[in-house]
Symmetry: C2
Subunit: 245 residues, 2 copies
């Protein structure tokens, strides 16, 4: 058995997210496990760096799997891509030490949320952006984003349940306006369930003038999930990169 | 009656091309005529600058139609976009003189053909590029493209039938390589049926080393359609811009 690390790209539109579920085969993880099991003729488990929600995309998801494979990494990559549907691709395959685990060893992640900020409809980008017709004040959004930097308890900016720690560290939030598109890039040590989409929804509300920057500190201190912004739609979100040691 | 000029964008994937046909309503022209007739409560004919084939896209198709409309251009634009499916949009509407005709008055057009030149699959671009896995020699393609510049009888580089003139003038062909993508931009006074796709197919064969640059002059002089390159797939092609006086 060898352990292989893979970098994956997928258009999440047609899928029920990354994580396999009891009653549906329509997840990325399930597709990969079925394909790899067929290819190497033994049962394969695929470990992702983390879940992506239904409809969320990935440009650089990382996964690993232990396989009986005697040919080269390049041949494995081509064999997988030959069998994948055209909305999923493997960009890179490499053999890694057996102890490597794509989730447990991940140090940080970068997500990007794309907003189409125009009256004009996003014909060609419609499946990978959230269309916001009202003009957003990007400078205000940048100012608001700085409230999220550093280590905080992001419980009220997430749909997380249970008793696990909800403290996370955001290293950087970049907001870039290019033509009719606004891209918000989040780099952090980890993100709670729905956290990037709720942070984005909160920033959009600031940009629309529906929420003050001061309201953010209050949500951290004394608020609940209801006091934070809306959950921005899945289709604007993409997992860009997973960083390791 | 006022005459309105419209600039249109569409993702051609789901449609049977621009031009309405007897037995299908699934063309862009038919969609627009039905929608506009419903909106203005009289029968409407929409004139396009030219046909686009089944599966071809447009970033800047131009059309005109005569309408009984008493509100503003802006209100017309919003009313149309509200009623269009999300893969078609109107970018601009303006009233023009009654004599304006989007096809008859067109002076030149610009098309762009997108080639994805990589072993890696084009996950997010898969519906708007032609995937060519073999590395193309772009410098050779640029040299070959210069053979098409100026006025020529392009009959052998088209699927044109009938007795109309097949002489056309190409002002410019720009070939741009950006990362894994090669874009070929064609600007000319007009293009015959399948002409841009056959010119592109011929350039791809040169880039692959399957055809010499000298073979192009021979196709003009003594060849037939069979001697020119293959017809590159529709999905890589887009009508970018139509120019008027």
């Amino acid at each position: 058995m060898k352990n292989y690390k893979m970098i994956l790209q997928y258009d999440g539109t047609r899928y029920d997210g990354w994580q396999k579920q009891g009653n549906t085969a329509n997840t990325i993880q399930q597709k990969l496990e079925t394909l790899l099991s067929d290819l190497v003729k033994h049962s394969v488990e695929v470990f992702g760096s983390g879940r992506t929600d239904m409809g969320v995309h990935a440009y650089g998801q990382v996964a690993n799997a232990r396989l009986l494979w005697n040919k080269s990494e390049e041949e494995l990559l081509l064999a997988i891509n030959d069998r994948l549907p055209e909305d999923i691709a493997v960009l890179h395959v490499e053999e890694v030490p057996l102890r490597f685990h794509s989730r447990l060893n991940a140090r940080s992640k970068r997500y990007c949320y794309r907003i189409w900020n125009s009256r004009r409809p996003p014909v060609f980008e419609r499946k990978t952006v959230f269309w916001c017709k009202e003009a957003l004040d990007v400078e205000k959004m940048k100012e608001a984003a700085s409230c999220f930097l550093g280590s905080h308890d992001f419980k009220n900016f997430s749909s997380a349940k249970g008793k696990k720690s909800t403290v996370r560290t955001i290293y950087n939030i970049d907001i870039l306006q290019q033509g009719e598109e606004i891209q918000i890039s989040f780099h952090g040590d980890g993100f709670l369930y729905h956290m990037v989409r709720i942070l984005t929804g909160t920033l959009i509300e600031v940009g629309e003038g529906k929420r003050t920057i001061e309201s953010i500190a209050k949500v951290f201190q004394e608020g609940t999930r209801q006091d934070a912004g809306f959950t921005a739609p899945a289709k604007g979100l993409a997992l860009m990169e997973v960083f390791y040691e």
